[in-house]
Amino acid sequence: MAIRIPSLLVLATLAFACMPGCEKAAPPTSGTPAPVTPTPATTTFTIGYSQCNRGEPWREQMDKDIERNAAKEPSIKLLMKDAQNDALAQQGHVKEYISQKIDLLIISPKDSSLTQTVAEAYDAGIPVIVLDRAVEGDKYTCFIGADNRVIGKAVGEWVVQRLAGKGAIVELKGLGSSIPAADRSEPFREVVLKAGHAIVYEADMEWLGDKAREKMQAALALHREKNSIQLVYGANDPAAIAAYYAAKDAGREGEILFVGVDALPHEGIEAVKNGLLAATFEYPNGTDVAIATAMRILKGETVEKKIVLGTRLFTKDNLPSGGEAVK
């Protein structure tokens, strides 16, 4: 008896361990496509949407947003599939869409290994909108993506405008080897250094909040004079928030401005609302533009091959009005 119960638990444990992607909190949308919008009588267009991996907050938000944006267009029926970070699964999903003869494909590809599959859809006469991550060649209709360099520059310009005189800045960078980390950092540094500000401490926080806190503690120890740090730029919101708490624990949160990137509703936006962050810059998922572009394509208009998304700045002042687009 004493053995019976634990053994069941062990079986459950192993079953969980063996389930692929169980730790991704697998959404029920995998496998068969699920109609998201109720089908009104006027439906004319079926759009297939292929997400590479729903298991991260930013992409989860992306899925919610595309549902919301698609629901605004009564003529669209949106099909959704999540490949759970598996390129082969995503290829399969696209092929299913092709055989279903959808009217338009929106895909956020896992990586460029999807190039061939996307081309197949395009050759089959299905217009393709590639979202966020690019594929190679030109066999797609339109690429829509954000540009981290644009964001990095926007942050830099905002900082220059916000800081009076010469400021001392701490920069908490993303994972050193990743391109987004460099893209969010280089234009920022260029702008602020040119304006005469100093970056007094920089460190790689590997996109992780707990690492960012450690680095911020070191920065605070190295610059322990009051007002020796004016601003902290965290390459993502968790880092900026963690840096805020580190400063708070040192009793210095009041003298420093914290700026982050991503602007997810429950994280960065919430932190701006509560005064933790002075500002956060949206890394847009482009779903609104994607749906609008899809409508244009379906109505027969020609669209640009590449649409680069701008970013939005959120501060406590402009939050009620939904932020402010940065050009």
Partner: protein, 336 residues
């Protein structure tokens, strides 16, 4: 001085303790040399360092018990996430009384540890496999829709019980964080359990030779279950502490923490094959690893380089005592 293992009443402390002290001393010496313009001599830096070490140190205390008993626990990182998520759900989402939130989180950790123990002792799974399974399970549970649904649990500003965890106690002018005090309490509890309780002696005996221990009347299964349970309990406490530090329950948090904690145990000088070492060594190992990170941060060493340096230190800290004791001490002439 003692390493938490057997009484040593004659002469110098045992060589393991000397080596662990030497390693820590060397690291602190480096800190004093590369002191970042005197910043290293600021008391606040050391309060910070201890605070950073605290969570990992608590994990390392639990792992010391399990490793001394000849096992390993890979699940503590996931248990940290699980316990943190449960704690924040209870306190932030459900707004339960703090005592209940703490209790639930620690109970979850204890439960995971107990299951680990049952799997190892009664189902005779290899510790590596059993705790690897628990590592996946606890992570999945933390992220499942039952609990967090994969979303960070936070509220701004955080509720008071989370802020309390970041309180600092004024001890003779030194602002020591509550986390550090909890770490020291966990260390002392582990030390006493290993040294002054029958349980501790059983742990050492099982780690050294489980068969002989059993034939000497040691309740092997019960002790193993207790060892893993204690490790889970401590991981649960650490989970609450980390959640407090980050002001959020992060279902993705704690990843890889088990390796940092194991490194602390090993650098201290406790043998991964069981039976030799002690929690005092782990305290020294935790301080060594923690201070290395702190000193590298203060000197602005890039993170990839930090990882490489830490790897090197682990090898050196384990290898040097081995080479020296082979030459100087002749403790085990029969062993290879």
């Amino acid at each position: 001085m003692s390493d938490g293992s057997p009484r040593r009443r004659f002469g110098l402390p045992p060589p393991e303790v000397l080596f662990a002290f030497a390693a820590l001393g060397l690291v602190l010496l480096f800190g004093s040399l590369f002191n970042a313009n005197g910043v290293f001599f600021q008391p606040a830096v050391h309060a910070d360092a201890l605070w950073q070490i605290a969570g990992f140190g608590i994990l390392a205390c639990g792992l010391t018990i399990v490793i001394l008993a000849g096992g390993i626990d890979l699940s503590v990182g996931s248990v940290v996430a699980l316990s943190g998520v449960i704690f924040t759900i209870a306190s932030i989402r459900e707004e339960l009384p703090p005592v209940v939130s703490f209790g639930l989180a620690i109970a979850a950790g204890t439960g995971c540890g107990f299951l680990n123990g049952v799997m190892v002792a009664h189902l005779r799974l290899q510790p590596f496999i059993a705790t690897l399974a628990m590592m996946a399970f606890a992570r999945g549970l933390a992220k499942s829709s039952l609990l967090s649904g994969g979303v960070k649990i936070q509220r701004m500003p955080p509720p008071s019980e989370i802020e309390i965890l970041n309180a600092k106690l004024d001890l003779a002018g030194l602002h020591v964080s509550l986390g550090t005090c909890i770490f020291l309490a966990c260390f002392l509890a582990t030390f006493v359990a290993l040294r002054h309780f029958r349980f501790g002696r059983h742990v050492y005996a099982i780690g050294d030779n489980a068969q002989a221990a059993w034939l000497s009347g040691v309740p092997v299964k019960r002790t193993v279950v207790w060892a893993y349970t204690a490790c889970g309990l401590l991981a649960g406490i650490a989970g609450v502490l980390f959640a407090g530090l980050e002001r959020q329950g992060n279902p993705d948090g704690g990843a890889g923490y088990e390796l940092t904690a194991i490194a602390m145990v090993v650098v201290g000088g406790t043998s991964l094959s069981g039976g030799r070492g002690g929690v005092t060594l782990t305290l020294l190992g935790a301080l060594t690893i923690g201070y290395v990170r702190k000193i590298l941060d203060l000197n602005g060493i890039a993170t990839p380089a930090q990882h490489m340096i830490t790897g090197g230190i682990i090898v050196v800290a384990v290898l040097v005592p081995k080479l020296l004791s082979r030459g100087l001490l002749h403790r085990d002439p029969g062993r290879p």
